[in-house]
Each structure stands twice: as C-alpha cells, then as structure tokens.
C-alpha cells in the first residue's frame, strides 16, 4: 500500500495515523555542545566558590594545620577559571573550523537590516505583541545579541579580571602578571578589580536565570526545538510554514 512509502518520511502511532515531521538540521556541532555544557559546569563552580571567597563560610574548628577548606575553595575557583579560559580559546579556534553557526556568538551583523528587524520582532514576541516568533536555524537575533554580550564580551572581561586577580598571588614576575598586569593600570587599587569581578558574578547569575527561562519557554512556545538541540545538536521545526 501507499502506507509503506509514507513510512519513510513520517512516524506512525498506535492508531496507524502517519504524521509527517518537520525537517531537522544539524546546527550545534559536538565541540560547540561540549563547550556549552563544560562552560555551564565551570560557571556554576565559579559562581558558588566565588561567592564563598567573597563571604566565607563559618569558621572551621580545630588547629589551622587540620583543615584547608578555604584553600580548596580557592583552588576549585582557580582551576575552574583556567578551564573556562582554555575552553574559551578552544571555542574561538573552533569558530574557524566549525559551521557558520559556530561563528555566530563572536560578532553581531549590525550592518544587516533584516537582523535589526529580527531583534525588534523577537523583542515584540517577548512583550506579547507578536502572535508567533520566526523560526531560526541558529540563534534568534535577540538571543544572538545576548550570547555575543555574555560569551564574547562579558566572558572575556571576567577572564581578564580573574587572571589579573590571580596574578596577585602568583607574583609580580609570573605570566598572569605579565599578561594581565595592565588591568591595574586602569584600576590601581585591586580592591576595585575585586569589586567589579564580584559584580560580574551577579551578572552571570542574572543571565543564567533569564537564559534557562528563555530556553524552557521557547522550547514550549516557539516553533522549534531548543533544549534538545543543545544535547543532540539537531534542530527540528514543528511546522513547515515560512517565516
């Protein structure tokens, strides 16, 4: 029967109804996904340990030789920070090898009118002024802006201030001091750098809240997959209409 031919392009449920699914596109390649989840883990560790570095837990009992709690907290922070920095460098390298979606977060196409229209429309969608959002293979223009701001500009800022602060303990002749010592030309009192880096932690927390909310919401509301795309790399669309 014609039934068999349809099997190739659709799925069948128990009642023998054949439903044609939308096309799926491979968007996020494995290195991009690995970076995303590695980053998520690092940032979680960094935010938690960073908070404790600013506001230490209650005093440990016993002799000082019997515990190294604050040392371990700081070690976890420094280790996660260095992994984050190396991952960021690797992610930049991948942008040269990867598909065009792997380059998206590193620049904003501000010279394209359609992109600006997309930002506006996406903003209207979040303000409940649009009936439905457009479909996008990569990031939608508003998300694209957020990713560029957070993971190119902000991430870099946290890495730079982080290594500058790390150089204080590593010593004036260490490589972090040589590479990032210029931060103290801008803010001679490192207390200011501590304060900025600490404020950055709250920016990350706020970003994480919005990011997770938007991903869950769009997974439900939009016309495409969101969360599973960052797991499998495949983006599926729920309809075949244009736009």
């Amino acid at each position: 029967m014609a039934h068999d031919a349809k099997m190739l392009t659709g799925v069948m449920d128990a009642s023998d109804d054949v439903i044609v699914t939308g096309p799926s596109i491979y968007v996020y390649e494995a290195p991009v996904r690995l970076w995303h989840w590695g980053n998520a883990l690092c940032i979680t560790i960094l935010a938690v340990t960073g908070y404790f570095i600013g506001s230490p837990p209650p005093t440990m009992p016993g002799e000082a030789s019997g515990s190294f709690l604050f040392g371990y907290i700081r070690f976890a922070h420094f280790a996660a920070g260095q992994v984050l920095a190396v991952a960021f460098l690797a992610r930049i390298l991948w942008a040269f090898w990867g598909n065009k979606y792997s380059r998206q977060i590193f620049y904003l196409p501000v010279w394209e009118k359609t992109w600006w229209r997309g930002v506006l429309r996406e903003a209207r969608w979040y303000l409940f002024l649009e009936k439905e959002p457009y479909k996008y293979i990569g990031h939608n223009p508003l998300a694209h802006t957020a990713m560029f701001a957070m993971f190119t500009l902000f991430n870099l800022g946290m890495i730079i201030t982080g290594f500058a602060l790390y150089s204080e303990g590593a010593g004036r002749d260490s490589w972090p001091a040589k590479l990032f010592g210029w931060v103290f030309d801008i803010w001679p009192n490192s207390q200011d750098v501590h304060t900025l880096h600490h404020l950055g932690m709250w920016v990350i927390v706020i970003f994480a809240i919005i990011h997770i909310y938007a991903a869950v919401r769009e997974d439900i509301m939009s016309r495409q997959t969101m969360i599973s795309t960052m797991i499998s790399g495949e983006r599926q669309f729920r309809d075949e209409r244009e736009g």
Binding site: G54, T59, R238
Partner: protein
C-alpha cells in the same frame, strides 16, 4: 651647606669608623642584596669616590606623619642617613634655618647641583584657585614644586599623599589636591606610599639610591619592587588561618582571641601592597594585624574612597544610594526572578486563552 661634596667614606672615617669596618659593611650589604663579591668592591669604590647626594625635602598638603615615621628608622638609624649617607640640604621641618635663609638654600642647591639632587616630596599640591590652598614662603606650593622638580635628578613621592592623593584628595576634594605625578611629568618618580610609609622602607629606598647611584627597580605603578611587590596577605603570619577557613567574625569572639584571620572583618591585606607583614613597625615590634586589627590598605590608591575600612568590597554609590556589590546583585537577581515569574504567568495566560491546538500546527495558518 657646602658639605655635600664630602663622600660617604669621608664622613664615616671622620666619625671614627675604621676602614676594616667599612669594607665589612660593603661586603655584608652586597651579600644581603644578593650580589656577588665584585659588587662589594664596586660599592666600596662608589662610597669612597662619589660625593654625597644632596636631598631636598619639601612639604605640601600633609600631616607630617611621613617625617614622624622617618625619624624613627632603626635600620639604618635615621641619624646615619641624614648625617652620613645623604646631604639633607633642605627640610623645613627638621632644619635649623628658617625664613629667607631657608628659602635661599633651595635656590642655591638648584643652581649648584643642577640635575644632581634628589627631590623628596611629602604631601601634595592643591590645584584649585591657582594653588592658593597651600602657600609656602609666600608662593603657591605647586609653583615651588614644579621649579625644584625641573632641575632634580629624581623625585621621591613620600607617602599616600604624594603618591595617590590621600585624605585631602578624597571625595569631594574641594582643594583639588593631586598626587605629584600629575604635576611632575618629566622626571622619574619613586612612589613610596603608605600613611605613613614604614621608616625602614623610607631609609631603605634612600640607602639604595645612595649606594648604587640609581633608582631601585620599580613596579608598573612606580613603587620600589623590593618593598611593594607582595601583598600584606602574602606574608601575613595569620595566613594559615585564612587557608584553613578560620576567621574572626566579630571583634570580641573566640576566634579573635585565638588570633584567626581578619578577612571577614574587612582586613584589606589581600589588596594591599606593602612590607608591613615582613618589616613591621617601630623597629620590628608589631604591625596592625599583629595587634588584632585588619589592614586598612593605607598604601593603596584612593583608600579613603573605597567605603568602610571594615568591608572587603568597595561601597558603590550611584543615584545617592550606598550599597555593596552583594546587595546590588541580590536586588537585581530578585527583580529578574520576579520579572521571570510575571512573564511566565503572562505566557501561561496567553497560551490558555489563545488555546493553541497541537494537531493543527502543521496545517496552513490563516492570516497572522
């Protein structure tokens, strides 16, 4: 004061020190600075042949705490520095001469040792109202400072005032006091910050210049590396308690009595570059942390304007509101969570009212 042509060697011989002791001194100094045996000979030759360096010590807007600290130096004794090592030709606080006599010395030194004297500046110049907030000998201090710096070999900025501005440059800074490097731009400046700097650090910097005839190695902020390359925190004797996570929570708790780390009561040791935890004060007797009080970061830039002395994070003042980074961050995160909650509710309402049927998704949509 024509004695400036005497060498260091001449002066100590006159004071009854033998040549044997002098050579010993050179060897010990070279060894303690980590230099080889050749350096000891070079040092001896330098001290025998080079005339003592004339030093002019000027006072701008300041409290004289740098001078008070300086005269208490124990290693070397300040009398040896002032009377033997350098030729302190002018210091209006310490010198016997006054008035026109004193002022004449400035001009005399400037002409006689053009490009060969050291200008040590305690305090800083106010620039507002053409410098009228600090008048010295009938003229604005800033004019005298520029004039004397013009012919100096090098400039030493004593203390937080000359280095960073200190209390008179704290907000709102009505006299517009500025650190001296904002006024002197064409001379090398050695910043020796602190409020006041440690006596031995001050005499140590002078000893280095006299001995080697050159500036000590400076860090990127212009401070001598030998005294300012590490934080109080890095050499603090309470550091093991920091690493162990043992903190003083309030001034009278058990941890305070046990001498735990003062990080949680706002010690600024981790952001302060100085030698207090190694050199200590008053001949090595103690330093603030040893007395149970956190470091207030007095040798750091703008230390009066960074909020409480008992907070580790700068107080942020915007829109007339004072808050710490944590208060701002928590408030913003709370606002975002509330925003997300409202947005979720609105989304749910929209979804329920528009009643989207899942099975119709693939069917052609009518006009949007």
């Amino acid at each position: 004061m024509g004695s400036a042509t005497e060498t260091f060697y001449d002066v100590i011989r006159r004071q009854g020190i033998t040549r044997r002791s002098f050579v010993k001194f050179c060897n010990l100094t070279a060894a303690s600075l980590g230099l080889g045996p050749v350096a000891a000979t070079e040092m001896a030759r330098a001290l025998e042949t080079k005339p003592r360096i004339p030093v002019i010590w000027m006072h701008g807007l300041e409290c004289t705490c740098c001078s008070e600290s300086f005269i208490r130096s124990a290693h070397p004794l300040v009398k040896d520095v002032v009377l033997s090592m350098v030729s302190l030709d002018y210091d209006d606080t310490l010198m016997a001469a006054a008035g026109h006599q004193a002022d004449e010395i400035l001009q005399e030194t400037r002409e006689k040792y053009k490009g060969g004297y050291i200008l040590a500046v305690e305090g800083n110049p106010p620039l507002n109202e053409d410098g009228m907030y600090c008048i010295d000998g009938g003229r604005p201090f800033v004019e005298k400072l520029r004039e004397m710096a013009g012919d100096a070999m090098a400039v030493i900025a004593w203390g937080a005032c000359a280095s960073w501005g200190c209390v008179q440059a704290a907000k709102p800074n009505p006299t517009q006091a500025v650190p001296i490097d904002k006024v002197i731009r064409d001379k090398p400046i050695i910043k020796v910050p602190g409020c006041p700097p440690i006596a031995e650090v001050m005499t140590g910097v002078i000893s280095y210049i006299v001995t080697f005839g050159k500036m000590p190695e400076l860090d990127r902020q212009g401070r001598p590396k030998m005294f300012y390359s590490q934080r109080i925190h890095d050499k603090c004797y309470r550091r093991p308690h920091f690493d162990a996570g043992q903190f003083v929570e309030s001034w009278d708790d058990d941890s305070a009595r046990k001498g735990y780390c003062l990080y949680k009561v706002g010690c600024k040791g981790p952001t302060t570059y100085n030698a207090c935890s190694t050199v200590r004060w008053n001949g090595g007797v103690s330093f603030p942390i040893q007395s149970g009080h956190g470091c207030i970061g007095c040798s750091e830039e703008g230390f009066w304007d960074k909020g409480s002395f008992y907070d580790r994070l700068t107080t942020i003042r915007q829109f007339g509101v004072e808050a710490t980074a944590d208060q701002i961050g928590l408030a913003a995160a709370g606002a975002v969570v509330a925003g997300v909650a409202v947005h979720t509710a609105a989304t749910a309402v929209k979804r329920l009212t528009s009643k989207h049927d899942h099975h119709r998704r693939n069917e052609p949509h009518d006009q949007q």
